[in-house]
């Protein structure tokens, strides 16, 4: 069996029901092992023998965390026995260095595997490019490694586990099965979210029995995820592929390129958040709360807020394991101290923050892919966020003088539209075929902007007909309404569950029939692979 996506017949109709059935019929003590076995089998289905990399990661963090635990106990014992302050200081320093060395080994193993498998071809290609540019006859062979699907997700989980044990946020787990389950729980393997040990490990290993409510609520979330992916994302893929692949051949104007950027952003959101709905719904069925990865990102009023609502677990990972360690490092603290004296309180912390932002966005870009376009994508957001921070005091002053109230709806709408447009341009860079292509598309967008092709019927000649466009409008409107309900702090599923059966059931069955009838699958539609699984 080969599983290529969570939103597939193989997963939704075979693998998940079989896992639920097995989980139900075995005794409580055996349930975590059913989940673990299912997870390893799932990994085999998606990446076959590359499972060995996952096993190395699990074993490494399990052993290194135990090593950290041992060092911490040794330190406590030695400190208790120490007589003088100097002696205690020496013990802390020596033990601290050993602990740090263990953490570094853990990071090197896990990020090292990721770097070699994912980034070495990019690095070697660029080395060869450098040789060519310098007219050197030297050349290195570009390796071609196979990387397991989901390595970018579980490697970050591995680092977070080691780091959290080091920082004593969690205890080292003596149970390797629980660590393995935390790393490999099958719903999160392909596209995350990036879970922390404290979020999921206990619930995964508890072997709680299945509950009717969890099963039904989980299934509803699964259906909604499939709706987003099959009805919206897969349908948009037709027009988006044409615009991005053939924009030169069709001689599109800037208006259609901008439309392509907007539609790709919607496709990406529907595909990724739809998959995450299936992931969270699957977890919910087993009684495991998987952290949310999206919180209505298109209601954001700034780029910073957008990244707090989009791929949340990646953002918080970068915040906790890159941004904070960089800003809290000794050189940065010193820089902030000096900058405060010269630049004042408002601008003083900015140099250190901007350096930390640079590290975060370089890593963010590279995490998405080994290519200059991804680095460009990261730098684009770095510049936007840094500029946002730099001009905030100035914009506050200007808005004050113009008597524009930040809390009034016209200004909020302006901010939301501005942020969405900036995000779409970023995603256009992200989806281009390389840095040259993204610059070419940006040039056309700004120098040949026109609404002509949006209204002269060309839009209907590139893959979608009027019927498809109507379905897209209806489906996106449904997702938008659900978003508004959630934004108001209410749960759409609970609201529906509170309705009588003759209202509830037509909604549930209607959703499934909608996906079956209006889904973009079968003859004439190109099936798309999960976009984020390739990261």
């Amino acid at each position: 069996m080969k599983i290529t996506s969570y939103i597939s017949v193989a997963y939704l109709a075979i693998f998940l029901p079989a896992s639920i059935l097995l989980y139900t019929i075995v005794p409580k003590k055996a349930r975590p092992f059913v989940l673990l076995t299912a997870s390893f089998v799932f990994f085999w289905f998606i990446s076959e023998f590359l499972i060995v990399y996952l096993l190395i990661s699990i074993l490494s963090i399990y052993l290194l965390a135990l090593c950290l635990d041992k060092l911490k106990k040794q330190r406590s014992a030695a400190l208790a026995a120490a007589a003088s302050k100097e002696e205690k200081k020496a013990i802390k320093s020596k033990n601290g260095s050993k602990q740090l060395a263990v953490v570094i080994v853990g990071v090197l193993i896990n990020i090292g595997i990721l770097a070699v498998l994912k980034y070495s071809p990019f690095l070697f290609t660029n080395i060869n490019l450098f040789f060519r540019l310098t007219h050197s006859k030297l050349a290195v062979e570009v390796p071609n490694f196979l990387a397991p699907i989901g390595i970018s997700f579980y490697s970050l989980q591995a680092v977070s586990y080691i780091h959290d044990v080091y920082k004593e946020k969690i205890q080292a787990d003596k149970n390797i099965a629980r660590v393995a389950l935390f790393m490999s729980f099958f719903p999160i393997l392909m596209e995350g979210p990036i879970c922390r040990y404290s979020d999921t490990a206990e619930a995964l290993y508890s072997g709680e029995r299945l509950h009717y409510r969890n099963l039904t609520f989980g299934a509803q979330r699964l259906a909604f995820g499939a709706f987003k992916k099959i009805v919206i994302a897969d349908r948009l893929n037709i027009i988006v592929t044409t615009i991005f692949k053939d924009y030169e051949a069709y001689d599109f104007d800037g208006g259609l390129i901008l439309l392509g950027a907007i539609l790709y952003t919607i496709e990406l959101y529907m595909e990724f958040s739809g998959t995450i709905d299936v992931v969270i719904g699957s977890g919910e069925m087993f009684g495991v709360t998987i952290p949310e990865n999206f919180r209505q990102p298109f209601f954001s009023k700034s780029i910073t807020e957008f990244w707090q609502r989009w791929h949340i677990t990646l953002g918080t990972w970068f915040r906790d394991y890159i941004f904070y360690p960089v800003t809290m490092s000794k050189p940065m603290k010193k820089l902030t101290k000096n900058a405060r004296k010269k630049l004042g309180r408002d601008y003083g912390p900015m140099p250190a923050s901007i350096i930390a932002f640079f590290c975060v966005w370089l890593c963010n870009g590279l995490w998405h892919g080994a290519g200059w376009e991804y680095i460009f994508f990261g730098m684009y957001h770095f510049v936007l966020i840094s500029l946002g921070s730099l001009i905030l005091p100035l914009s506050n002053t200007v808005l004050g003088k113009l008597k524009i109230d930040r809390n009034k709806w016209p200004y909020k709408v302006f901010c939301i539209v501005r942020t969405a447009l900036l995000v779409c341009i970023g995603e256009m860079i992200f989806n281009s075929r390389g840095i040259k292509d993204s610059l070419r598309m940006l040039r056309i967008m700004f120098t040949q902007f026109s609404f002509k092709s949006l209204f002269d019927g060309s839009i209907l000649s590139i893959g979608l007909d009027a019927y498809d466009i109507i379905i897209l409008f209806v489906a996106i409107a449904i997702v938008f309404v659900v978003g508004i309900i959630k934004e108001k702090g209410k749960s759409p599923r609970q609201l529906i569950a509170a309705k009588p059966i003759f209202v509830r059931w037509p909604i549930y069955i209607g959703l499934v029939v909608f996906v079956v009838v209006f889904g973009a699958y079968g003859a004439g539609y190109l099936p798309i692979d999960p976009i984020y699984a390739s990261f």
């Binding site: 069996m1 080969k2 599983i3 290529t4 597939s8 017949v9 193989a10 109709a13 075979i14 009717y212 692949k245 053939d246 030169e248 051949a249 069709y250 007909d465 019927y467 059931w505 549930y508 069955i509 499934v512 029939v513 079956v516 009838v517 209006f518 889904g519 699958y521 079968g522 003859a523 004439g524 539609y525 190109l526 099936p527």
Partner: protein, 324 residues
């Protein structure tokens, strides 16, 4: 208390069963509505391959199956005009070989062509568990296969005779594309002894197609359409091997002299040929098919006058190419 819990459990089980029954019932109703027999309309854009099912019984001399490589490269109307045999391209974008098998089976229920051409690119398309599973589901609930016909749910367009497929394609499955987007690797057929294996269970489906043709007394021929992106010599070698194993003919248009100019005759950098390339491919292929399989010239046969009438429509559609 215990009794209460068990009652509530029974209630939940009954509710779940009823829910599933309602769901299945609705899928059944949708399947009853969404079958291609029920529509006679000319706007079924995404379901060109189904048009083969609407061709009058036993009127096709050749049928070409495959994915987008097939509908881009072969023009049945041009081949009719030049040689007078009838053909249809039953292909859809990214078609899986399992779906091709299903189309071959359905076609052979209505047609007895002299030859069936299987374009080989679909043979290399990797399938996952979904394809055969969905194919099985389609047999029970045809809505999974024909759901896209919702675009034509016009009560006035519903066919009264449920057994007849009505919608016919004027281009007979060919897709007209006049975009020019040059190839970046025109020298793609570099000789090698390497053999590119066919993935997974795809060979089983090819064998099934071969058996279906054999049972119907139809000759099966493998054909590779020109593509600088999808085709190479290692795949060519595999198809030579496969054709010998099956005992069928194989023609690779990537190694034939068609006069293709990859700077002009492709719409997407060599992935597919455009109308200009298709004209050259169809000229060569029409010659080959007519001569090799002695396909009849029916241009003067009044029973096929509909085919002669297609010329005007074909010229209308392809008129735009004259400005390029």
């Amino acid at each position: 208390m215990k009794e209460k819990i068990s009652r509530s459990t029974i209630k939940k089980i009954i509710a779940s069963v009823l829910f599933v029954v309602f769901g299945i019932g609705l899928l059944g109703i949708a399947s009853f509505c969404f079958t291609p027999e029920r529509f006679h309309t000319d706007s079924v854009k995404d379901v060109k391959p189904y048009g083969v099912l609407a061709e009058p019984e036993n009127t096709l001399d050749a049928v070409i199956f495959g994915d987008s490589e097939a509908f881009s490269a072969f023009s049945p109307v041009q081949m009719w005009q030049e040689h007078g045999f009838t053909s249809y391209v039953c292909s859809s974008a990214s078609q899986y070989i399992s779906l091709t098998e299903s189309f071959v089976r359905q076609t052979l229920e209505h047609q007895k062509p002299k030859v069936i051409f299987l374009e080989t690119n679909a043979i290399y398309r990797k399938m996952n568990t979904d394809n055969p599973t969905l194919a099985e589901a389609e047999k029970i609930f045809p809505v999974f296969q024909y759901h896209n016909l919702w675009k034509n749910l016009d009560p006035a367009g519903i066919n009264e005779n449920e057994d007849d497929y009505c919608w016919q394609d004027d281009l007979k499955g060919f897709k007209y594309i006049d975009i020019i987007n040059p190839s970046r690797n025109p020298d793609y057929m570099k000789k090698t002894k390497a053999v590119k294996k066919v993935p997974g269970s795809n060979l089983t489906h090819v064998t099934n197609i071969y058996n279906l043709c054999k049972e119907s007394g139809v000759e099966l021929v493998l054909v590779s359409a020109p593509s600088t992106i999808n085709w190479n010599y290692a795949k060519h070698n595999m198809m030579v091997k496969l054709s010998k194993q099956l005992g069928v003919k194989y023609i690779d248009l990537n190694v034939e002299k068609l006069g293709l100019n990859w700077n002009h005759d492709t719409c997407d950098r060599g992935d597919h040929v455009n109308y200009f390339g298709a004209t050259k491919v169809s000229k060569f292929f029409g010659d080959y098919a007519a001569k090799t399989f002695s396909l009849p010239d029916r241009r003067k046969d009044s029973a096929y006058s509909d085919w002669n009438a297609l010329k005007e429509k074909y010229d209308d559609v392809t008129a735009r190419s004259k400005t390029k």
